[in-house]
Assembly symmetry: C2
Homo-oligomer: 326 residues x 2
Amino acid sequence: MTNPLTLVAGGAGFVGSHLIARLLDQGDEVLCLDNLQTARASNLRLLEGRPGFRFIKADIVDPLPQAVTAEAGRITRIYNLACAASPPLYQLDPEHTMMTNVVGTNRLLRLAESAGARLLLTSTSEVYGDPEVHPQQEDYRGSVNCTGPRACYDEGKRAAEALAFDYARMGRAEVRVARLFNTYGPHMHPEDGRVVSNLICQALSDRDITLYGDGSQTRSFCYVSDMVDALTALMESNVGMEPVNVGNPVELTVKELADHVVALTGTRNKVVYLPLPVDDPRRRRPDISRAKALLGWEPRVGLAEGLEKTCAWFAEELARPKMAAA
Amino acid sequence: MTNPLTLVAGGAGFVGSHLIARLLDQGDEVLCLDNLQTARASNLRLLEGRPGFRFIKADIVDPLPQAVTAEAGRITRIYNLACAASPPLYQLDPEHTMMTNVVGTNRLLRLAESAGARLLLTSTSEVYGDPEVHPQQEDYRGSVNCTGPRACYDEGKRAAEALAFDYARMGRAEVRVARLFNTYGPHMHPEDGRVVSNLICQALSDRDITLYGDGSQTRSFCYVSDMVDALTALMESNVGMEPVNVGNPVELTVKELADHVVALTGTRNKVVYLPLPVDDPRRRRPDISRAKALLGWEPRVGLAEGLEKTCAWFAEELARPKMAAA
């Protein structure tokens, strides 16, 4: 009797590292793959040495390392969280972003097929593009500009979903597809350009607080522990032939988010307004009826609590290099 | 001084073989790549032996053959028409369909980059999915079900467009993107499941004429010589940063098309109605204002003339094996 093994691609990233911590807490054995393109090395340091954890540096665009394929007989679960997720980072090398989603996902699907494992794909609210339907239900087909600078990510994820459901339809592998809306919490990369980390890091340093457009665009922010609850629940559910939105349906404007962060941190930094990036979505809120009904899941951590924990973590994190230097 | 060379991927297919014939008529030297997955061998026989023509059997999902990369110094134009295009055929192996569009297109884009060549991608009206806007302009973002059985093709083409425009934006290669609407004419595969060839072949044999749904769904059919005019004009234009619809804007229902074919062939075969396939588009008509304005192109062959030529060709074609057997 061999021990089951869970593979987490992108496991050194923000959500991935929280997911692995949870799986290890449950007593699972976890193999983490990551190319360390956008991951924080310190996320790995929190995991390394924990019983059942192993890390392999690899890019899923390339053929999977022999150390992975050799374990196929034991792999029962594959979580695919691999891909740079913030626009400035995924736009640095759009070809690689597309290939990570299409070629990388396909390599993991083939592994799932040969291992008889179940694969959970982390897709994204970006499959809805700049939505004309609000809030977004899973059957909304989206409004994505397939020729624009965000297409490498948005269309890459749409193509990855297409592949996953084709494998499922043909009986090649069991799949689960989660569409993640904005997520935040400790372990975010301070420099990855996502709005929560941007605002908090600006407030905690002496930089201007930057808002894009007039700050009236809306987002819905899910605390990372709620997200991990959703992903593990979906993986172990029988919801195989339909994507599931996971996110927090409490919607607020980016300006309101900034006000929260300013109040929490007491910053007196100036607020400056910059032009809205191309194809930036104006509104974003998940309809999570499906997740509630089929997974019995809904977010439990409110924005005040989540932001406070996140600010506290960033304050410690940003102080760290200065302490080391002192 | 070396002679310029044009590469045509998918050159043994229906549109590809007409395109190559035109390029050879112009005196171009042409290298044809095809995996012969859905191509008719007889299309190749019409080209083989013509001065300037060379064929290499290859699948663009695989690394390009050395015989192609060795010619990179001479390649100035790359037409990518490679992919099974009819739903029954591209759904046989959805993984391969997706990879042809994404990995295959990327291999040709990399070749264009290294050769300093210009690449024309044949995208499709399928990027609009089952459109909610009518007729379809290029800036319409489409209504594609990215989880359905047509997604391997539709999302594959959307991803290929995303890649092409990323190469263009980054200055890696010059690209042209055509969105082809339904095309018909001689050299279609009798068995590929497209509506024009289906109806004509049924009318010319003793099979029932099949209509899907109530036959009220509309299509717009472009004769293949008009399509070739458009593709060559676009390739030599300076329209690099936007996709261009190419097709015939005369819209008719599939039932009306069947009536035309019945009248032309004088068939007395029974008309039968079958269920509409999943995600079948209800309406489809190109807005070709952009092609008219920027390429000075519009279709010249009307449906009556085009259908007559096509029926005549199919009549000869379907008679051929019987003659050979006699």
